[in-house]
Structure formats: structure tokens, C-alpha cells
């Protein structure tokens, strides 16, 4: 206990090693969240369309990705993209692609539950006032589904933020990698792993507290 040395945690070192990692982790989380929710919503609509041609591919996509580890998907994308494009796109971009397609599977299950929770009368009401399928989704169903599922979507985003640490598998420079590099350069890995844990904890704990508050608010609206 006595030989701990936290002097590596000074502003200069944190800025030069950790800041860029933190920025990448946050970027990755945001892009994967937005892309994942968009693709996920499309997948959910496909699965609920009642048309086999849409339903089956969407189901294979979602169930397939949900049954393999994220690390495996990270490795797959990192291996396949250069084969398809004929050139490497870099670890960071590869990670962004991976997380977007991977999280889409999870967000799609949430959106599917959200859409299914809407009362059937809402669909009928939309049809009765002459809305097309797309209009009905756009103006009646999806806004409600989205709002009901907001806490769950955000909880999944916290999980997503934690999972970004797995880009370790391909060596992308994220928050964890930043702390690790700092620790290795100054021979203080014990302290920096501890530091990484504290930073992840603070971010995730505050976010989940916010989500809990939001959940209470939404519960009242409903």
C-alpha cells in the first residue's frame, strides 16, 4: 500500500495521454448509438413487417450478432474490411463500423419491444385518418415507442460505453488504452488501471443515475 504513487495523475500527463483516448471512447459511443438506433429501428420494422422477405434476414442478423461475443465481431470486421476494400481503414474507423453494426442488433430488440408495446388502437387511429404506413410510423407509432423506450435505450448506451473498452483487442486508442500507455511509460500501471476504473465508474454511475431519474419522469407521463 505504501509504495503507491499517484503523481502520474497530473494535468499535463492526463492531457497528453488520456484526453485523446477519452474523446475517442465518447465519439465511438455517440456514433454507434446514433447509427445503431437508426439501423436498429429499420431492423425492428423489418421484423414486424409481416413480410417474410424482410422478416427472416432481419431475424438472422439480430439473433446471429447477439449470439457471438463483441470481441469476435471486432476481430471479424478488422479482418474483413481490408479484404473487401483492398486497403486498411485504421483501427479507430474499424471500431466505429463494428460497434454500429453490432449495437444495431441490440437496439433493434429494444425498438421492437417499444413498437409492440403501443396499443393497437393507435395504428388503427392513424389508418382511420388516412395516413400511409410510413406516415403512420413516422408521426404516430415511432415517436411513442421511442419515448417509452428512452430509458432502456440509454441504459444500453451505458453498456455500449463500457464495451468500447474492448477495442483493446485491436489496439485502438481509447480511454483504457490511454491510461495503460500512461502507466507503461512511467512504470505505474497499477495506479493507472485503478484510475481507469475510477473514471469509467464515475461516468457510468452518473449516467445511470440520470437514467433512473428520467425513468421516474416518464413513468409519470404514462
Amino acid at each position: 500500500m505504501s509504495n503507491f504513487d499517484f503523481s502520474v495523475f497530473n494535468f499535463e500527463l492526463l492531457r497528453s495521454f488520456v484526453a485523446s483516448g477519452l474523446i475517442f471512447s465518447v465519439q465511438l459511443t455517440f456514433i454507434a448509438m446514433l447509427g445503431g438506433i437508426m439501423i436498429g429501428t429499420l431492423l425492428a420494422l423489418m421484423r414486424l413487417s409481416g413480410i417474410k422477405l424482410f422478416e427472416i434476414p432481419a431475424r438472422i442478423y439480430v439473433d446471429g450478432l447477439r449470439s457471438i461475443p463483441l470481441v469476435m465481431v471486432i476481430l471479424w470486421v478488422y479482418l474483413l474490411i481490408p479484404l473487401f476494400l483492398g486497403r486498411a481503414i485504421g483501427k479507430e474507423l474499424s471500431a466505429i463500423v463494428t460497434f454500429t453494426i453490432f449495437e444495431a442488433a441490440y437496439y433493434s430488440e429494444i425498438m421492437r419491444a417499444g413498437i409492440q408495446s403501443i396499443a393497437r388502437g393507435q395504428v388503427h387511429a392513424g389508418q382511420a385518418i388516412g395516413l400511409s404506413y410510413a406516415q403512420n410510423m413516422r408521426y404516430v407509432i415511432l415517436p411513442q415507442a421511442f419515448r417509452n423506450m428512452l430509458p432502456v435505450l440509454l441504459t444500453q448506451t451505458i453498456v455500449l460505453f463500457q464495451d468500447t473498452s474492448l477495442v483493446y483487442a485491436i489496439g485502438a486508442y481509447d480511454l483504457l488504452h490511454g491510461f495503460e500507455t500512461l502507466g507503461k511509460n512511467y512504470g505505474r500501471t497499477v495506479e493507472t488501471y485503478l484510475g481507469a476504473a475510477v473514471v469509467y465508474f464515475i461516468i457510468c454511475f452518473s449516467l445511470s443515475t440520470v437514467v433512473k431519474q428520467l425513468q421516474k419522469k416518464i413513468a409519470i407521463i404514462r
Binding site: M1, F4, G64, S67, I68, P69, L70, V71, M72, L75, W76, L79, L80, L83, F84, Q162, D163, S165, L166, Y168, A169, L176, T189, V190, Y193, L194, A196, A197, Y200, F201, C204, F205, S208
Partner: protein, 236 residues
């Protein structure tokens, strides 16, 4: 894409007196071993913490809640590094433990927070009358939990526990980070050595899907055998 498949890579010698197929099978064994042992740790601690969060004692509740928040809000990979680098620095005797044991505890404690959350939800989903019926019969609090509350709660939460059991197989993949020779580490190293990444990754992906499916079927079997008579789930 005219990719030239070469499945014979699996029969090549790794240079260590075994083929890549044999290596992959032993890696599968490590994955399963980590997952099963971590699941035992997770169930034991998760049930205990889940119960603590429901007992009428503020101190114990607080401890249970703190446990769940601590292990749920740190990424599992970081937790593995904590067990591997930080805890042995704090408690020197732990330096002698093999990394396999550390990973089992890291993954087990991480999952215990999720199990505890399910156990708490299961207990709280029971009508309050169950607890009262227990005390009315003169059972002590531990007895009420043992004979009345837990047998019901565990059956109710079997479906979410199934997904946790499937998750733990997937999450065991982070063990590669501390050089446990499991499937992901095999995939990375064999890809490097043979440059037949697609064939290797397909094999590993297949094994993960088979494992997840096996867990799913096993839990469905358990679920079918312990259904609570008279509930919707039990109606055939």
C-alpha cells in the same frame, strides 16, 4: 470475391506437436471452464447479494446496493485488469494465484451484480403475503427465505438467468487480455500464424454459437422441470 478457401489449415501442425484443430478444441475447453466456474461464483455471490438487498436491514441493503453499483459500472475488461494488476499489489499473497483463477473471480463478480439484480427483482415480484405467511407459520427470516421466498423467486427469474448464462460465455472472451488460452486468444494467434483468418474465425464463431445454443437448451430443460404449478408458464 473469389476467395480461395483452405480448410486444411486446421490439420496443420502448430509447431508445438498439435494441430490447429486440437488447439482450438483445447481453447474451447478453456472458454467453457472459465464460463462455468465464473457462473458458479456469480450465482453464489449474486444470490447472496440479491437477498441482502431485500432483507429488512438498512445496513445490509446499502452493502448490497453498493456491491451492485460497483461491479456494474466498471467495464468487465477493466475489472479483469484490476484483479490482475491492482489487487495483487494491495494483497501480496494473491500474486501467487494463477491468472485463470483471477479471471474466474473477475468475471464471476462482474456477473454477480447482474444476477443480484435479477434475484432482487424476483423476490420483490412475489406478493408481500408470502413473507407474512412465512412469519405467521413461525418461520425465522432465514427459514422464510429458504423454504418460501427463494424457491419461488428462482423459478420466476429463470428466463433472465438464461440470458445471463449465455452472456457469461460471451463475456469469457475478455480473458484473452490476460493471456488465458481461450477461443479469442486462439483466434488472434492462429490468424497471425497461418494468415487463414476467415477459416479460423468461422470455426471459433461456430463454437461460440454452439455453446450459447447448448446453454439455452439446458436452461430450457431446467425451466420445464421446475415450473410452478398453476402459473401461465406451466399450462401445457
Amino acid at each position: 470475391m473469389n476467395y480461395r478457401w483452405d480448410w486444411q489449415v486446421y490439420l496443420q501442425d502448430t509447431g508445438g506437436g498439435q494441430t490447429y484443430l486440437q488447439w482450438m478444441m483445447s481453447a474451447w475447453g478453456w472458454t467453457i471452464a472459465v464460463a462455468i466456474l465464473a457462473w458458479v461464483v456469480a450465482l453464489a455471490f449474486g444470490s447472496l447479494i440479491g437477498v441482502l438487498r431485500t432483507v429488512p436491514n438498512k445496513g445490509l441493503q446499502l452493502f448490497g446496493n453498493a456491491w451492485v453499483e460497483l461491479f456494474r459500472n466498471i467495464p468487465v475488461l477493466v475489472q479483469i485488469f484490476l484483479w490482475y494488476h491492482v489487487i495483487p499489489a494491495l494483497i501480496p499473497p494473491m500474486k501467487t494465484l494463477p491468472s485463470f483463477i483471477l479471471v474466474v473471480f473477475a468475471l464471476g463478480f462482474f456477473t454477480s451484480a447482474r444476477v443480484a439484480e435479477q434475484v432482487r427483482a424476483g423476490i420483490q415480484s412475489l406478493p408481500r403475503g408470502q413473507m407474512m405467511a412465512g412469519s405467521a407459520m413461525g418461520l425465522t427470516l432465514p427459514q422464510t427465505y429458504r423454504y418460501v421466498i427463494l424457491p419461488m423467486a428462482f423459478r420466476i427469474i429463470l428466463p433472465p438467468l438464461t440470458s445471463e448464462a449465455m452472456n457469461i460465455i460471451k463475456n469469457s472472451s475478455v480473458a484473452f487480455a490476460v493471456s488465458i488460452s481461450e477461443l479469442i486468444l486462439f483466434a488472434m494467434q492462429a490468424q497471425e500464424e497461418t494468415s487463414r483468418g476467415i477459416e479460423i474465425y468461422l470455426g471459433v464463431t461456430g463454437l461460440y454459437i454452439v455453446s450459447a445454443f447448448a446453454v439455452n437448451r439446458l436452461m430450457a430443460l431446467i425451466e420445464a422441470n421446475v415450473r410452478v404449478p398453476g402459473t401461465i408458464g406451466a399450462a401445457k
